[in-house]
């Protein structure tokens, strides 16, 4: 029996076990929506903006580890997904983005709602393809899922011209994918793994620096075994949080620009860094020339381009983190070497650093400190929630104060730093786990970037709890302006409004507000008691800064803690440089 391209597409999605598609219709993809109308197994979530829908798919993928699927129309529908696709690309999030396209005979004619979306997304997809013939469709979709989820995961876009989804052919779903030019290496080199094991046994001041690759490959248990077995402390990147229990005694928390003092000091003074599924982002390394001067570096990553890109590795191992760590653990387990005591001095040095500069803030008795809100959310959810964030100070405070114990519970935008990510990602996560408690911690700037998705949350009754950390500023920008631009707050003051309580109500959700410290717990408890979506407006100290901080251009042990004057560059010449860095990296 012959099927239409639309039917074939949906059959492919069923075969890939897709349960949810985040979608928005338009002229050229109507044939697909028409098939979806009768579809029972695949639920369609109608987003309110294609960027939001694509972030939802990201949130879904981040908490499940399975690819998020997006379906949008051509032209503006497709271009609206680009920011979120770029976001997924930077954070190695598996997505399959299905875009409608004008009929093949109109392509290139500036037809109504035509955009060269394959061209536009080429630099920010792992792969993309325009399907020109219905006979190629099933294979293209199969390959899209395979490429999105294998190796280093990422977004794949399939562009579907209207005539192709209308045309009919026999449906044959390939059961295997063979792409001669694409074969990720999972195994890792045995000899290098052995070398790594030897270095770990010899090291006296080792640190594991774990990134998102630990989550992508599902290697948390192997990481825990390695850390506990060898008594190696673990610091994590923003993307890696949750990959190692945040409450574990060997956990150092996050490292880098807003990392903990003790994590950064450990890296700086270590003699061996075991980088696992992390890519030495500039937010982590600080000034590269002075990064971990005394350390030998083992770098484990599935993506060979990550290795030697920023930091030269002494023992590079290309392969899947889970496979390699379990290989490593095997060797270490069978080694005669009695390990337990050897890192003792190091661990106690680290606990001294921990005491020297703990994470701290001054909570007075009236004005709410943003960090306090995060701590109370942690308490109220007993650390068990999935927490998405937007981008800014609040994101860093969540990373610092919410101790993620489980993998895949902290969807947030790391690599691209996309404001507007948090709410839709929370919706996607809630869709994936309807019974879990899902929080979105957002800034008053970020939340309005995709605020329209409140409507999605309400219409599907997805009970996300949104905590707006309302400081009336684009806080992170204000902080940089305070520190590096003589407090010239150019275009960073948002002022009052919108009225988030009324806004929530306008969308049909519940709105709550806390203005004083005593109201925080009360608001949280009320929010938790509500079955549907809630937006909480926490009016916090407007000028609180996020510390500790490695100023741009400094090495990671050169942290500042609270006094803004300390962050002033020492020499006048440096100041200009830092300004330049600031412009480039803010």
């Amino acid at each position: 029996m012959k099927l239409s391209g639309s039917q074939i597409l949906i059959e492919c999605l069923r075969k890939e076990n897709v349960k949810v598609v985040f979608a928005y219709p338009g002229g050229v993809n109507l044939p697909i929506f028409d098939v979806l109308y009768d579809e029972k197994e695949i639920e369609v979530i109608l987003c309110r903006h294609e960027q939001g829908g694509t972030h939802m798919a990201e949130g879904y993928a981040r908490v499940t580890g399975r690819p998020g699927v997006v379906l949008v129309t051509s032209g503006p529908g497709a271009t609206n997904t680009v920011t979120a696709i770029a976001d997924a690309y930077m954070d190695s999030t598996p997505l399959v983005v299905l875009t409608g396209q004008v009929p093949t005979q109109s392509i290139g004619n500036d037809a109504f709602q035509e955009a060269d979306v394959v061209g536009i997304t080429r630099p920010c997809t792992k792969y993309n393809i325009l399907v020109k013939d219905v006979n190629d469709l099933a294979k293209a979709v199969k390959e899209a899922f395979y490429i999105a989820t294998s190796g280093r995961p990422g977004p794949v876009l399939v562009d579907l011209p209207k005539d192709v989804v209308l045309a009919k052919t026999e449906f044959k779903y390939p059961d295997k994918v063979y792409i001669r030019s694409y074969s990720p290496n999972y195994k890792g080199n045995k000899w290098q793994i052995k070398q790594a094991a030897e270095s770990i046994m010899k090291a006296r001041r080792p640190v594991i620096y774990a990134g998102g690759g630990v989550l992508a490959s599902g290697a948390s248990q192997e990481l825990l075994d390695l850390a506990e077995g060898m008594q190696v402390p673990v610091t994590q990147t923003l993307m890696g949080l949750g990959g190692f229990p945040g409450t574990h005694p060997l956990s150092l928390g996050m490292l880098g620009m807003h990392g903990t003092y003790w994590a950064n000091m450990s890296i700086h003074h270590s003699d061996l860094i075991i980088a696992v599924g992390s890519r030495f982002d500039d937010r982590v390394t600080g000034r590269v020339a002075d990064f971990a001067p005394g350390a030998k570096i083992i770098h484990i990553d599935i993506d060979p381009t990550s290795i030697h890109k920023v930091i030269k590795a002494d023992i590079p191992i290309v392969g899947d983190v889970k496979v390699i760590l379990s290989g490593l653990n095997q060797i270490l387990k069978f080694s005669e070497n009695g390990q337990s005591g050897k890192n003792q001095a190091w661990l106690s040095q680290i606990s001294d650093w921990r005491k020297e500069h703990p994470l701290a803030y001054d909570q007075g008795d009236k004005i709410i400190k943003p960090q306090y809100v995060i701590e109370r959310i942690y308490e109220a959810t007993r650390g068990k929630a999935i927490v998405s964030t937007d981008v800014g100070q609040h994101q860093m405070w969540v990373a610092q104060y919410y101790k993620f114990d489980r993998p895949r519970t902290f969807p947030n935008s790391g690599g691209l730093g996309t404001m507007g990510y948090g709410l839709p990602a929370a919706i996607g996560a809630q869709k994936a786990f309807p019974d879990d408690l899902v929080f979105c911690v957002a800034g008053d700037g970020s939340i309005v970037m995709n605020i329209q998705e409140m409507a999605t949350a309400v219409s599907y009754n997805l009970p996300v709890k949104i905590a707006v950390i309302n400081n009336k500023y684009l806080g992170m920008v204000r902080q940089w302006q305070e520190l590096f631009y003589d407090r010239r707050y150019s275009s960073s003051y948002l002022g009052d409004g919108p009225d988030f309580v009324k806004l929530a109500e306008a969308f049909g959700a519940v709105g709550l507000r806390a203005k004083e410290i005593g109201e925080v717990d009360q608001v949280l408890q009320e929010a938790l008691a509500v079955k549907g979506p809630v937006m909480m407006d926490f009016q916090v100290d407007e000028e609180e800064n996020c510390y500790p901080m490695v100023p741009a251009g400094a090495a990671i042990h050169e942290m500042v803690f609270s006094d803004p004057e300390e962050a002033e560059p020492k020499k006048q010449g440096e100041k200009e440089q830092k300004k330049a860095d600031g412009v480039l990296t803010a």
Partner: protein
Amino acid sequence: MQHIISVLVENKFGALSRISGLFSGRGFNIETLSVGPTLDPSVSMMTIVTEGEDRIIEQITKQLNKLVDVIKVVDLIEKAYVERETALIKVNARPEDRAEALRVADIFRANIVDSSPNTYTIEITGDVNKVEAIINLLRPLGIKELIRTGRIAIAREEVKIAAVRGNLDRRVLSGQAK
């Protein structure tokens, strides 16, 4: 230092722009790029001449390898290879210059592929030095137009291409990439 990178790539639409886009997007430089189908028409071979420090070249080869359509990447600079470039040079050939133009073409064993009352079009094929040399000698006559193909290069027979990818990977894996 200059590198000549051979890229074996699926002959699919979009593959070329993916590769050139990789260079522009990451700020790598392309000096010349030439491309054409191989014996197997489903595959094209590209020759890319680029310049950069070892670290950059390592990134270029690894990033190219990472592209889904790329089958094989070889940096020929590390191998024995043969390279050629073709140029078509349209040069003034007024009656008084003709003898000189012919003489230069003859020295370089170049061909006159077109002539008109006032011009010769000279075809030259050779390594890059040879092409540069004839251009310099013809320059005094007045070059009206010049077009070059960019370099193509092929590894000498003893280097088995199949082994090369292995070498490259091992080099990368063992951290010895130069």
